[in-house]
Amino acid sequence: MPLIRKSSTSPLPLLSGKDDVLRALFEGHAEERWAAARAAGGVAGGVKALGAALCLERDVRVREAILTSLTRMASPDAVEAVLPMMRAEIAAWRTGAIDALRAMQQAAWPYLPQLLADPDADVRLLACEIARTLPGEKATALLCGLIEGESEANVCASAIEVLAEVGTAEALPALERCAARFQGTRFLEFSIKVTGERIRSQTAGLA
């Protein structure tokens, strides 16, 4: 019978020890940096180190591991380590940061109001995604506040995208005003129509 059964097997080696982990995070080759990124959450000074590594690391897989470690921590420090990446030059770095911030849920919420008021339209656009995890009423209030004063069509589109999932009836007046301001921008007219229909249909259901 070629099938065999072993009662035990040698476990995989584990990178540990603060100095080893932090050194590997910056100086190791890609696989070592990857393992170190996974382990860094568990050593003192790990968050700061992960934040620093995030500014430098070019390997996609190591970046993912860094962001996953920070996401799991979901602390204010972890959020602040990720926030600067919203302004990164490389598109994938920006969107990777948003994925992580959205996944950190409550930890990221306090930062939303200032992000939605950021002078940089790209930051405002990205920040809308973070509102997706908020309770419907809060998300609606924040995103409608953004829309009312927003001149960039794509930022509005980003906010409306999230409202399509989480928006409440309170959003309807702001959406109507937005449609009027952006009359002729057909994608926005479409988004607002669909989002409005979704919100209206849910409140028309059985109470």
Partner: protein, 282 residues
């Protein structure tokens, strides 16, 4: 039980988009009636009086509602030779590829996780004995693991009913199982003893590391239940548990590509599988 109107077109779309983003599963218009019926059941059980309140419950995953909804809309019955196209891929392509990188006499290690009540790891064993022409030339170690120790105990007991065996020929049942009474069979002792069953939480690297490295991992229909962060950690853990060049097979509605950039996609005749890079330190 109160009566519900069917959900609106927009509500259905909203649900589908959420499920797609969260799990990768695509619900199409064609399946709408099927899904609506099960959705209404879930709404009733959950005590939601409107789709809006149910959707809030779903979005915030109250009481693991996402898992419950997925279970309600998927066929998650386990049986021998389920999704056998992957077993075929294993004997047609994956093992040949692995052998190129293995020394003579080196054991082939295969992991079935989650193994549930054992149909999958025992299927792998029987399939190899029946279909791999090199099976007598190598030592093969099959490990079955699950987070649920109750189902694992059942797996270890190796007793199955008629439905579990429905895709096996009478000949296979005769050779690999012993009747235990009315429509109950027990897998033969030789096979039962040859699979190691262990508990594991695949989101916990401390637990997954205990298992060493594998040539092939079958991890079917469990990642869809996780949230994004847990799913990414599980993918990282499973990556560590593969030998360089090793393969991981997911359920047919799942895609590792949307979960993690760690693996390369390999398209074989029978299946799409995911591979860890060869070469370099592991």
């Amino acid at each position: 039980m109160s009566e519900f109107t069917a959900i609106t077109e927009e509500e259905f779309r909203r649900l589908c988009e959420f499920i797609y983003r969260r799990t990768g599963m695509v619900f199409t218009e064609a399946k709408r009636y099927y899904i609506e019926r099960r959705l209404v059941e879930r709404m009733s059980i959950a005590g939601s009086v409107s789709f809006a309140s149910y959707f809030t419950r779903l979005r915030t995953d109250v009481d693991r509602e996402i898992e419950r909804l997925i279970n309600a809309v998927t066929v998650n019955e386990t049986y021998f030779y389920r999704e056998d196209y992957q077993l075929r891929c294993m004997t047609n392509d994956l093992l040949a590829d692995r052998l190129k990188h293995k020394a003579r006499g080196e054991t082939i290690r295969i992991w079935s996780v989650p193994c549930s009540t054992g149909e999958e790891p025992f299927s792998i064993a029987i399939w190899l004995l029946e279909n791999w022409r090199l099976v007598d030339q190598y030592d093969i170690e099959i490990v079955g693991s699950d987070i649920d120790t109750t189902v694992m105990e059942k797996a270890h007991a190796g007793v199955f009913g008629k439905r579990a065996l429905m895709r096996l020929t009478d000949d296979l049942v005769r050779r690999y199982f012993e009747p235990q009474g009315a429509e109950i069979w027990k897998i033969i002792e030789e096979l039962r003893e040859s699979v190691l069953f262990t508990p594991v939480n695949i989101v916990d690297p401390v637990e997954t590391r205990q298992h060493g490295r594998f040539d092939i991992i079958f991890c079917r229909n469990v990642l869809i239940y996780f949230d994004d962060a847990s799913r990414r950690v599980a993918a990282e853990n499973l990556y560590e548990n593969l030998m360089p060049g090793g393969f991981i097979c997911l359920g047919h509605t799942e895609s590792m590509s949307r979960i993690s950039p760690l693996f390369s996609v390999r398209r074989f005749t029978d299946a799409i599988v995911y591979q860890k890079a060869t070469g370099g330190p592991a």
